[in-house]
Symmetry: D2
Subunit: 293 residues, 4 copies
C-alpha cells in the first residue's frame, strides 16, 4: 500500500470487541484480506474466517490490535475469545517485522517490552481519530438523553460543559434538533466562537449555578459538578458525564441530592460499533497514506 509500509494486502486482527468485527468487515469490503483471531466464541454463530493468533501474526502484512489494547494480566483485550491471549516471544518477534497498529501503546509496551522494537503506530492517540470518534460519542449521548428524557430535545434547555471535540459535536446536534443550548468554556475565544455558532456562551469563571436546564452534559475531565454546583442544579435535570475517568461529576453528592446523574463512557463502542470500527480503519489508512509521502 505504500513504500514505508511495503505492500499491505492482508491485515491480522487480534482481539477486540464488535468494533474490530466491523473493522474486519469494512476491510474486506475494501478488498483487503483479513485474518481474525480471538473471536472463538463467535464460531458457533457461524462467523467465517476465524483463525488462531499464530496465523494472524504469521500470514498478515500488518497487525491491528484492539482498543483497549491489553488487560492488567498482559493478555490482549479479547472479550469474544474463549481463552486468554498472551503473545509468546516468537509471536512478538514476528510482530517486530511488520507494522503494528495499536491503541494505548504505552500499556502495550509495559506488557510486551520487546514490541518497543516493532513499528507500532498508535491509532488511538491521533487527533483525527479523536475528532472522528466525537461523532459516535455525541450520537450516543443523544441516544441516552432521548431514552431518559420524557420531553423532546426540541424545546428543551441543555447545558454542555466544555467545548473540545465532543462538546462541539454534541452542541451542534442538540441545537440542530431544537434544543436551546448553552455551552460553558473558559477561553474568551471559545466563548466568542460559541456565540457565533448560535449557542449561549457560559463563562466557567462565573458559573454560579446550573439552574434552568433539562439536560446537562459534562465533557470536562476535571471536577466540574462538585457538591457546591450540584446544590445549584435543578433536581429535575438529567446529568450525563461524558468525560473520561475520573470524570467531572461528584456522583455521591448527586445521589444524595436526588439528581439523576449518569456516567456515559465508551459510547462509540457501545452505541455505534460499526461506525467505531470504520473509524479505526480510516485512521489506519491515514497513517499508511502519510507514510507513503
Amino acid at each position: 500500500m505504500s513504500e514505508a509500509f511495503g505492500n499491505i494486502k492482508t491485515f491480522g486482527i487480534i482481539g477486540g470487541d464488535k468494533r474490530q468485527l466491523f473493522l474486519a468487515q469494512s476491510l474486506l469490503e475494501d478488498g483487503c484480506g483479513v485474518i481474525l483471531a480471538g473471536f472463538g466464541k463467535l464460531r458457533e454463530h457461524g462467523f467465517r474466517a476465524l483463525s488462531g493468533v499464530e496465523a494472524a501474526v504469521l500470514y498478515s502484512d500488518a497487525v491491528i490490535l484492539p482498543l483497549p489494547s491489553v488487560r492488567a494480566d498482559r493478555s490482549i483485550n479479547s472479550p469474544f475469545s474463549e481463552k486468554s491471549i498472551v503473545l509468546s516471544e516468537e509471536q512478538q518477534a514476528l510482530l517486530c517485522k511488520k507494522p503494528v497498529f495499536a491503541a494505548m501503546s504505552d500499556r502495550l509496551f509495559r506488557a510486551y517490552p520487546m514490541l518497543k522494537n516493532a513499528s507500532v503506530y498508535d491509532y488511538a492517540s491521533r487527533d483525527d481519530f479523536a475528532v472522528l470518534n466525537a461523532v459516535p460519542t455525541a450520537e450516543g449521548a443523544l441516544e441516552l438523553a432521548m431514552q431518559e428524557y420524557e420531553g423532546t430535545l426540541w424545546g428543551s434547555r441543555s447545558l454542555v460543559t466544555g467545548f473540545g471535540r465532543i462538546g462541539k459535536a454534541l452542541a451542534r446536534r442538540l441545537s440542530s434538533l431544537g434544543s436551546s443550548v448553552t455551552v460553558c468554556a473558559r477561553k474568551a475565544s471559545d466563548l466568542a466562537f460559541i456565540e457565533t455558532l448560535g449557542y449561549t456562551a457560559g463563562d466557567f469563571s462565573s458559573l454560579g449555578d446550573a439552574r434552568g436546564y433539562d439536560l446537562i452534559f459534562n465533557t470536562v475531565p476535571a471536577m466540574v459538578f462538585d457538591e457546591a454546583l450540584l446544590r445549584k442544579t435543578d433536581k429535575t435535570a438529567l446529568l450525563f458525564d461524558l468525560a473520561s475517568l475520573p470524570g467531572g461529576v461528584d456522583f455521591e453528592s448527586a445521589a444524595a441530592l436526588g439528581i439523576d446523574a449518569r456516567r456515559a463512557l465508551s459510547l462509540p463502542g457501545k452505541c455505534a460499533p460499526k461506525a467505531a470500527g470504520e473509524i479505526i480503519k480510516k485512521t489506519v489508512f491515514s497513517i499508511i497514506k502519510e507514510g507513503k509521502r
Copy 2:
C-alpha cells in the same frame, strides 16, 4: 378564559396515561386548577390531588378526556385507574353543561350518544395538534433508529417514504444529523420542495427498488413495502413503519425475507409523554383562544 368558554379556571382531567399527568402538571404550572380522576394506581406513589370522576365533572369549568378516548367496552381509557370508568347519565348531563376537550370524538359519541349535546372540542383532529406531534414522533423514530442501528446516523443513507408532517419533521432531523436523506413523494411540487430542502427526491411512480439504504422510515398509511418492493430492499436495512394502522409494510414478507422491520406507533406517548402532554395543553389553549375572537 374567554367569552365563548366562560372563565375556565379549573380543568377536570379524566383518564389517560402519562401524557395526561404531564398535561396536568403543565396546567398547574400555568396557574390553572386541576382535578385528576382515573389515576388511582398512582396514589400509593404519593401523587397528590387525586379525586373521583364525580369531583372532576362537578367542580371543574371544563373537562379534558384522554387519547384514545374510550375503549371497546365504553369505558374511558384510563390505564392508571384501579377500576373501569364508565360515565353515568348524571355525569354525562353535567358534561353537557361545560366545554369538553376530547380526542376521537366519533368514538366518544358512539359510546355516549348523549354527549352529542355537549360542546365537545376534538383536539386530536386539529391540524396544529398533528403538526406539533410530528416533533415527538420524529424524535421517537430517531431514538429507535439510534438504538437499533450499529452505525451512526452521520454517514448513513436513509429513505423516508411520504412527505407529510412526519416525513418533513423526520427528514429534517436525519439530514441535520448527517444522514444522506432520500424522500419519496408523489406530487411534482413535493418533489421540487424536497430538492430545495437539500434531500434527494425519489419519485414513487418510478420507485423500482429501495436498495442502498441503511435506514428506511415509512410514513405512508397505505401498502408501500409490499413483497415485491421488499424483495428489492437490502437485507441489512432497518425498516420502521411509522404509518398508522394498517401501516405500509408487509411484515410477514419482511420476516420471510430476513429484513428487520418494526412497527413504530404512538411514539409521542411512548418516547416523550411530557412533550405530548404539553402539546395537548397547547392545543386546548388554542381552541379556547380562537373561541375568544
Copy 3:
C-alpha cells in the same frame, strides 16, 4: 422524448431575457438542439447559433416562449431583440402542430387566439415551478438585505410576513445565517409548523405592531403594512416587499414616516438568471416526463 410529445430533439426558444439564454445553454449541455430567436442584439457579442423566428418555429420539435410571455402590443417579450417580434398567422399555424411551453398562457391566448388550438403547456403556472423559484427569490432577498443592512444577518432580528413558498425558503435561510426570525401567519397549523421549525410564530390576527426588527420581508400579496402598522414599525427597520403587485406595503406612508421600504420583484431573473433558466428547463422536462406516463 415521450409518446405524448413525440420525440423532442430540438427546442426553439423565442424571446426572453438572460434566463432563456441560460435555459438554452443548459439544454445544449443536456444534448438537446436549440434554435434561438429574438436575441439579435447579442450577435455582435459573438453569441452563436442565432436564427430568426421562422427557423425556430419551423425546425424545432417544440417551442419555449419567455416569461413574461407577451407585451401589451402583442409582441413577444424579447428585450435582446433588435426589432419587435409579432407572430404571423403562418407561424401561429406552425406552432399549433407542436408542443408550446409558455408562461402566462392567458395573456398569450388574448394576443394570439389561434394558439388556443395549440398544445400549450404553461410552465409558470405549475406548483413545482413556483417551489423551485422560491430559492432564487429567497437568495435575492438575502442579497438585497446584505447589501443594505449595515449589521450582519447573524445577530439580527427579522420578521417574515406570510408562510407560503417564499416565506418558508426565506425564513429557513435567515435562521441558518443566525438571524432571530419571527414569521407571521394566519392558520393555527402554520403557526404550529413555524414553531416546530424553530422560528417565533407571530399571529396576524394579533399583530399589533412590527417593532423590534432590523429587517422585515413581506411575502403576502395583500395590504399588510398599511399606514397604521407602519406607524408601529421601527424607523431603523429595512422593509422589503417581495409580494407580487400590487404588493403589501403602503410605500407612500413608509416614505412619509421615514421608513426605508423597497419593492423587490422578479428576483430570480435579476439575481440568479442562470438558476432561473435551469428551473424553466427542469419544469419543461417534468411536463414532458408526466406526459410520458
Copy 4:
C-alpha cells in the same frame, strides 16, 4: 468598570471609519458616555457630540483608537476628519494616564514611542476579536458571491481553501444555503473535522486541480492559486481572495487565463460596519472584564 481599569464611565473615540461611529452608538446605548473626535466631516450631516482630540483625551476615562491605527505619516487613521490628526506630546502624556484600547499597537508604538509607557490594550490582536470578525467577513464574502454569481448558492459547488476562523464561518454558511462545499486543509485532524461537519475534505498535499467549482474562496495567506493551479481551474469559476495581503492568488496569471479573480479585503468594515463596531465594543468590554478578576 473594574479595579484594574478604575471606573470607566466615558470613552474617548479618536478617529476611524463607520465602525467607530457604530461603536460610539452602541456604547451610548449601553449607557456609557462617548466623546467623538476626528469626525469633523460629519458635522454638516448633523452628527451630534463631536469634539476635538483635546477633549477626547482630557475628559474621558479611557480612549479607543481606530483600526487601522496610524497612517504612514504618523497621523491617526481618520477618514472622516477634515484635517490630519497627530498626537501632541501633551496628548500622549495624558494618554499614558488612562487605558488606551488600540489596534495594531506595534505600528502605534513606532509612531508614538512615548505610548509604550501607556496601558495599551490591543483589541485587534485578540483571538476573540478575530473569531467574532469571521462572521461579518463570511457574510461579506457571501454578499459578494451572490452579487457576482448568476446562479444560486443553492445547488452550486464551492471550494474553500483554508480552515481557520474564516474558512469555518464561510463553509458553514455556504453549506447551510445549499452549496456543495469542499474545504481544503493540511492537517489530518482538520480534514477529519471537515468531514464530520458534512463538507467534502480536500487535501492540500494532493490538490492537483481546482476544477468543478462555481465559486472558490481562498482564506490562506500564502500563494495557493499560483499559475500552475490556476491553469487547472475552470474559467467559469469566480475566485475570491479573502486572505490578508499579499494574499494567496496570482492575479496576473488569473487575468491572463481569463479567470474572474477578486481581492476581498476588510469585509467587516465595508459590508457590516455596524456589526464590526459592536465587535470592537464587545472585545473592549471583555478586556475590561478580564482585568476585573
